[in-house]
């Protein structure tokens, strides 16, 4: 009987466990987790903070679900090190031997080394306990540092809770990794009309206060506050991997082959802790997103039980709701496509706005505000690298259009430009 040990109880780890159990009812699966809770959706944490969903609804699994699928879970345990030679996982509660190991250690919030970042009132946004702590703190005036999708969602959630919210971003626009300045400007407008103060191009220099957070100083000004929420990026958790001699890539995450195996045979890695290739560019990239983590868990799990499945690459897919308006981004931004001849197709209809980025007649990215219907077709075309000329051929030929009907909804975006 093969014994598989999974480190991590997040999206990737759980998906790996599920897929292995689905294929091999006899495998011994052990999960080792640091957190003391069953699997929950990290993406829904801002919704929990805003009160949109209850704490119970966050949880995807109950403890009984692990028992039902015969997965042995050891929670609340830190892994000290991996002994790759002996195939042993050394934890503070004894050693666990494995035949195959899957590392799904995930990531942690990046806290820049500014003075005062350890004062009470500083919060990370990663786990359910972080959100519990924010709620127990009862924030009145909050500064959210970093305006990625987590930062924006947290700012909106805090606003819904009745806080006075300030969003501080180091770069010149909000949502710099997933939106172009034009679309980001629109979202910024939506935030400011709902009373969130947004400052871009300002670096956070210090957090200060007597025994708790009282104010923050940016490169431009001083903002009085009682809470600082850090959403300035995530760092992959690679300490135990690098100590075990597992190769770390240039981006600081675990380097894996197309089968998500590390340089140590029998040790696989998936989720936020790996450096995956981007599906569109083929270059190493970190796309720390829930759907990518789940797919990687699936691929790592399958390869670990002997199926040869190559990972097709990660892709950015972000949706969120800003005060009731859906915003979505997929693929790359113009900034990520610098140096290539980017053709922009923009359109507007009944308050919604979209922006498509084409390179060499192929869709490489799309951002949409206020509309999500029909984006699935664009996403599929982007993943399949369909040429726009081929697309036009298909939709203009009734015979082809009937066979490949799913292409048609994309027409409403492409025909606008």
């Amino acid at each position: 009987m093969v014994s598989i040990v999974i480190v991590g109880n997040g999206a990737a780890g759980n998906r790996a466990a599920e897929i292995i159990r689905g294929y091999d009812p006899g495998a011994a699966i052990t999960m080792v987790a640091r957190e003391e809770s069953p699997e929950y959706s990290a993406c829904a944490l801002p919704d929990y903070l805003s009160g949109w969903i209850s704490r119970e609804q966050l949880f995807i699994k109950q403890w009984s679900d692990y028992r039902k699928s015969n997965i042995n879970i050891i929670s609340g345990v830190n892994v000290a090190r991996i002994d790759a030679g002996q195939k042993l996982l050394v934890t503070e509660q004894g050693d666990i031997s494995y035949d195959r190991l899957i590392l799904a250690t995930g990531s942690r919030t990046f806290l820049p080394p500014v003075p005062g970042h350890d004062l009470p009132g500083n919060f990370a946004v990663k786990t359910v306990t972080d959100i519990d702590a924010i709620m127990a703190h009862r924030p009145q005036r909050a500064v959210v540092v970093g305006s990625g999708n987590i930062g924006v969602e947290m700012a909106a959630s805090l606003k819904v809770r009745g806080c006075q919210v300030t969003l501080v971003e180091m770069r010149g626009q909000i949502l710099p990794r997933i939106f172009d300045p034009e679309s980001a400007g629109r979202i910024r407008g939506m935030l400011t009309t709902h009373g969130i103060r947004v400052f871009t191009g300002e670096e956070l220099m210090a957090v200060s206060g007597c025994d708790r957070v009282e104010k923050v100083s940016t490169s431009q000004q001083v903002i009085a506050c009682d809470t600082v929420v850090w959403a300035a990026g995530m760092k992959p958790e690679v300490e135990i991997a690098s100590q075990a001699g597992i190769e770390i890539g240039e981006l600081g995450a675990i380097k894996v082959d197309p089968f998500l195996q590390t340089n140590r045979p029998g040790i696989y890695a998936c989720g936020d802790c790996i450096e995956a290739v981007d599906m569109l560019t083929g270059m190493p990239a970190q796309r720390m997103l829930w759907p990518n983590a789940k797919r990687q868990g699936e691929v790592a799990g399958l390869n670990c039980i002997g199926c040869q499945v190559a990972y097709e690459g990660a892709i950015s897919l972000v949706t969120s709701e800003v005060f009731g308006v859906p915003v979505a981004s997929m693929g790359l931004t113009a900034a990520a496509l610098t140096g290539q001849p980017v053709q922009v197709v923009e359109g507007e209809c009944q308050g919604s706005h979209w922006r498509l980025l084409l390179v060499d007649d192929r869709i490489m990215g799309m951002q949409a505000i206020g509309i999500t219907a029909g984006l699935g077709a664009v996403m599929a075309m982007m993943k399949n690298r369909v040429l726009i000329t081929d697309f036009r051929k298909i939709v203009s030929d009734p015979e082809l259009a009937q066979r490949a009907a799913w292409y048609l909804p994309a027409g409403r975006f492409l025909n606008a430009g």
Binding site: A44, I53, Q57, L317, T372, L408
Partner: protein, 163 residues
Amino acid sequence: MNKHLQVEIDKCTGCGLCQLACAVNRSQQFNPSLARIKIHRIELQGLNVPSICQQCANPPCAAVCLMNVIKKDPATGITVPGHNSCIGCRACQLACPFEARTYDHIHDVMVNCDLCWGHPACVEICPTGALQYCDISSHLAAVRDAEAVKRTRVPDWERGQHG
């Protein structure tokens, strides 16, 4: 066993009755925007293209679901939207190539066609037969038989030669 909601696009007149029947049957509202079936209209070609959940065996919507609520019903193979914990994030809408996921703005959840659990209201009401609920393998057999006729049809000149 292997039943499927088949769309014959050239028969669709775009009357929209399927949308109304769907919305009434599944959401108790006369509101086509709540229908799980949508009709995409291409005015230029006069095409009306109904789009609906294809009941994928391994659905991409479930693969991206941030709350892991979209499940396949093990007994019927129907993709179940799982309303209880849906947060309405619409990630599934981006992942579904078929524009088959509908935002239910009354309950703020995403929904999809569940084939009315075996008795699709849209098929019952479709006046032209553009929507059919049929067995996929018998449909394929019919396609192949039609192809067989095509391939065996002896041209008249050859028939003459054989006498």
